[in-house]
């Protein structure tokens, strides 16, 4: 009895301070953790048998997995005889099924490492694998400037840039289904090994510190337990960094956080499944002392949550253990809330209350999807009235007392439903043939509920956004990889567009769940644009602008984007996608303008066009009128000036003409009848008048004399005309050619001859001299005219 009491005291003390307890009670018994200490190497085989038999924790372990006392201590260690690299990769493949999740973890790791005193990548490997180095580097850290920290932290941006590229490359190499493996391999060969070792070291440390029976396992069983725990759960980063920084004490320090507690509980659960003995042995309990027994767990009610699977496909942090799960392991306080594995128990048909992200997903369901989801959940077809009732129940909290839909800002949802809302939902469902279990299920799973705007669950939103990103990445796999250097064929493009459209729908759910925040909504509309669903893109964009009219710069952003695309399209007129995107932007812009009672872009352009046209018309009319007026003025001025000039000219010409006529008349008046050669003085005077008039005068006197000669009657006149021509020949010609060279004189001479010629020709059978002289004069005139 005394021994039993001592053992109990020892157990209690060990949990708080295990090492001190061992030192204080060396004689009581040696717990398994104690004999695995290096200092106990020599005593191992001696102590092992006793310990395994006495240690209450070890009694719960299946025999084949217990410490093997006939082997050395080294062989009973987890890493004994194993090459960790490849084995780790294969066993912790699911350590982060989500690329982004793993990326986040590494980002934290980089920042943590940067905060330490690390000089190169070998230091970093040492840091992650060597506790002494870690302690030293942490001691020396703390004197880096913020600029230096920012620069080194920049490695996170390099990582964020390269990691998705590496991930996609791994996907094409290893296929899309090896999700966890792809994301791990995307870390690169240098980081992968130390990272895996760090993870498994953390898990080992957690197991050692939190699960007493861990030390009761032999090497292989340890390995299996570590592998299961690491593979089945996402390690909370706080636990990893706590371990990195402070070792076991660090893990205990962070163990109080909710996330870490959840992980610990899940780890213990996994450990129990992997390592413990069959049920009969598991019921042996030490809570009241060794040998005491606990009542076997009660059969689980139908609504109880089943034990977590060994490696759930999408494990999550923060999932608390079911409150009603019975404790089944024998170590008392170490595993107070672990659900026992109920071998052979039927799978519970009801899944329990939904998590936040499941609620967010449920809230974003369309009416049709909601009915399908309900049918799947209940495992039966819903009647028409039940479908309507389901949707009515879903809309409770969204309608006012008058049955009309309330403004979105006044909706109630998960967490804000009143008791009356919930009662009303239950009543609607009950009235339409849903039994109590079904009602409970529909409400617990969020199918009959919704999210109140403004209540954004960050975790749920993150999950939805990741799903969208994954769907987007998955959609891109329908296109040929860039390294293939070929264009997508039509079938690939169709598949890509369809998958991207689906991704857009998921992204839209995230946008709705976020309360139409900018980035989730933008991701959704851009995804729709990629899918060629420009109407959906415009609808979302418009919904965002309407939901968040005060977002700074968004309106100007649209204008800027439109201008950018206009510029781009003008330079790349064959880019159909850009054209369609521009059309989307214009559509949104128009709708927003209409919302604000402003003219749309098209209206503005039309008004501007009309104004320009009107202005152009007015300008043209104005210019035409001005031109006409100017022309009229010019014409009138010209006419007036012309008239004045004409008047002036007319007056001038009249005077000149009168003077000329007077001069002509005077000259002609001087003409005389051609005298007979017998009257010498009269003949000389007449010959002089003729010569002067032709040579220096205006020829009028000579012409008048010639006219008088020509008018003489044949009798007497024939002789005088012969003497007149002979006189002209002797005075004005030499050798038949005229003496004069002056054109005017020649023209005057021609006029004289020309006046006499008709009569001369008429009264003579032979023409005689006159025509010859006249020809020679005319020849001379032509010659004078053609002379330069």
């Amino acid at each position: 009895m005394r021994t039993l009491l001592l053992m109990l005291l020892t157990l209690g003390a060990l949990w708080a301070t295990p090492v001190r307890a061992q030192e204080d009670c060396e004689t009581c018994y040696t717990p398994a953790s104690r004999i695995m200490l290096p200092s106990m190497e020599r005593q191992f085989s001696d102590l092992c048998d006793i310990t395994i038999q006495r240690d209450p924790g070890c009694q719960g372990i299946e025999e084949s997995k217990r410490l093997r006392c006939n082997e050395t201590q080294r062989q009973n260690r987890a890493w004994s005889g194993h090459q960790p690299g490849q084995r780790l990769l294969s066993c912790v493949r699911r350590i982060a099924t989500d690329m982004l999740q793993l990326g986040d973890m590494i980002m934290k790791l980089i920042k943590f490492l940067v905060g330490s005193f690390i000089r190169n990548h070998l230091d970093m490997i040492s840091f992650m694998t060597d506790a002494n180095f870690r302690a030293e580097s942490l001691r020396r850290s703390g004197n880096q400037s913020r600029m230096m920290m920012a620069f080194l932290n920049g490695a996170t941006r390099n990582f964020a840039r390269e990691f998705p590229i590496n991930y996609r490359a791994e996907q094409s190499r290893h296929g899309a289904f090896d999700v966890g493996g792809n994301s791990l391999r995307a870390l690169g060969t240098t980081l992968l090994a130390p990272f895996l070792k760090m993870v498994t070291d953390s898990v080992t440390a957690i197991a050692q510190s939190q699960i007493e029976q861990f030390q009761c396992l032999n090497g292989q069983a340890k390995w299996d337990a570590i592998c299961s725990m690491a593979a089945g759960f996402i390690l909370p980063p706080a636990a990893i960094f706590g371990f990195l920084k402070y070792g076991i004490a660090g893990i205990k320090a962070v163990a109080v956080s909710k996330q870490t507690q959840s992980f610990m509980a899940a780890a213990r659960s996994t450990f129990a499944r992997v390592a413990t003995a069959p049920r009969a042995a598991a019921r042996t309990v030490t809570g009241g002392g060794r040998g005491a027994t606990r009542a076997p767990p009660a059969p689980r009610p139908a609504a109880a949550r089943p034990a977590p699977a060994a490696a759930p496909p999408r494990p999550r942090e923060g999932v608390p253990p079911a409150p009603d799960a019975p404790a089944a392991l024998p170590e008392g306080r170490a595993v107070p809330d672990v659900p026992a594995p109920a071998a052979g128990a039927p799978v519970a048909p009801v899944r329990g209350v939904a998590s936040a992200d499941e609620l967010a997903r449920a809230a974003a369901l369309s009416d049709e999807a909601r009915i399908v989801e309900a049918q799947t959940l209940l495992g039966r077809e819903l009647s028409e009235s039940q479908r309507t009732a389901l949707l009515d129940a879903h809309n409770v909290g969204r309608r006012g007392p008058d049955g009309q839909m309330l403004p979105e800002s006044e909706w109630r949802g998960y967490g804000t439903y009143t008791a009356e809302d919930i009662a009303q939902k239950a009543r609607i469902l009950a009235d339409n043939g849903f039994d109590m279990a079904e009602r409970r299920l529909l409400m617990d799973r969020g199918i009959a509920g919704g999210i109140a705007p403004g209540r954004v669950d960050a975790d749920a939103l993150r999950v939805l956004r990741r799903e969208a990103q994954e769907a987007i990445v998955e959609a891109e796999r329908h296109l040929p990889a860039s390294y293939l250097s070929r264009a997508a064929n039509p079938a690939e493009l169709v598949a890509f567009r369809e998958a991207t459209g689906t991704a857009g729908e998921i992204a839209e759910r995230a946008a709705v769940a976020s309360g139409m925040e900018y980035y989730p909504t933008r991701t959704a509309w851009e995804t729709f644009e990629k899918a060629g669903r420009f109407d959906d893109a415009a609808r979302l964009r418009l919904a965002f602008m309407r939901a968040r009219p005060d977002e700074a710069g968004m309106a100007s952003g649209i204008s800027y984007e439109i201008r950018s695309f206009e510029e781009f399209v003008s330079r790349n007129p064959t880019d159909i996608v850009a054209r369609e995107r521009l059309a989307t932007l214009r559509q949104v812009d128009d709708a927003l303008r209409r919302d604000q009672g402003l003219p749309t872009r098209a209206d503005t352009e039309r008004i501007a066009r009309e104004a320009a046209r009107r202005e152009a018309t007015e300008k043209a009319a104005r210019e035409a009128a001005e031109r006409e007026a100017a022309e009229r003025l010019a014409r009138e001025t010209a006419e007036r000036e012309a008239a004045e000039a004409a008047a002036r000219n007319a007056a001038a010409s009249t005077e000149t003409e009168r003077a000329a006529q007077a001069a002509v008349a005077a000259d002609r008046a001087r003409a005389v009848d051609w005298p007979s050669t017998a009257n010498a003085s009269a003949y000389d005077r007449a010959a002089r008048l003729l010569t002067d008039s032709v040579r220096t005068g205006n020829g009028e006197t000579a012409a008048a004399i010639a006219e008088r000669v020509a008018r003489l009657p044949f009798d007497g006149g024939f002789q005088k005309r012969t003497e007149f021509i002979r006189d002209l020949e002797s005075n004005f010609f030499r050798g038949g050619a005229p003496l004069a060279t002056d054109l005017a004189e020649l023209r005057r001479l021609e006029r004289v001859l020309d006046t006499v010629e008709p009569v001369w020709n008429a009264e003579r059978v032979q023409p005689g001299k006159l025509p010859v002289l006249l020809d020679s004069v005319r020849t001379a005139i032509r010659a004078a005219e053609s002379a330069p």
Partner: protein, 152 residues
């Protein structure tokens, strides 16, 4: 009272200088504190994260100290999926939007491609700012390209 009013006015005026990423950049994967963006048409990527840098942290002396740890980043690369990190030209300047430190260079990606980068560190007087990694694996990204990153 006047001083309070003045400070309020300054506080209101300062965010007006906050830098906004050019609208042509489309959002890609988001990691803890870092968001990737891509401008498909200009074949540029930007990884953006908030900064703890203060205006006075970006100065000639801190930049000089920074150069001493370039070697560390060369070594970091091997851990995080790239290698041969090689710095090029650097520039420190100040404008009404705050202080900037720009660093151009290149590195080799795990895929064997040469990736050209431009790191931008920005801090304004209102404790705002950001850290940006502009990259392209098809064409060099020069110091002068920083203007392409932000909405003018």
């Amino acid at each position: 009272m006047r001083l309070t009013l003045l400070l309020c006015l300054v506080a209101i005026a300062l965010p007006a200088h906050a830098l906004q990423l050019d609208q042509r950049f489309e959002m890609r994967e988001q990691f803890d504190g870092v968001t990737n963006f891509e401008d498909v048409h200009r074949e540029l990527q930007v990884a953006v994260s908030p900064t703890e840098l203060r205006f006075e942290d970006i100065n000639p002396q801190s930049i000089k100290e920074l150069q001493a740890v370039f070697q560390v980043k060369k070594e970091f690369g091997k851990m995080f999926g790239f290698s041969d990190w090689t710095p090029g030209r650097q520039q420190l300047f100040e404008n009404p939007q705050g202080r900037f430190f720009l660093l151009e260079g290149n590195y080799k990606s795990n895929q064997g491609k040469t990736v050209y980068f431009l790191e931008i560190y920005h801090a304004d007087r209102a404790k705002g700012g950001g850290e940006y990694l502009v990259t392209s694996d098809v064409k060099p990204v020069a110091l002068e390209d920083w203007k392409k990153v932000f909405t003018p």
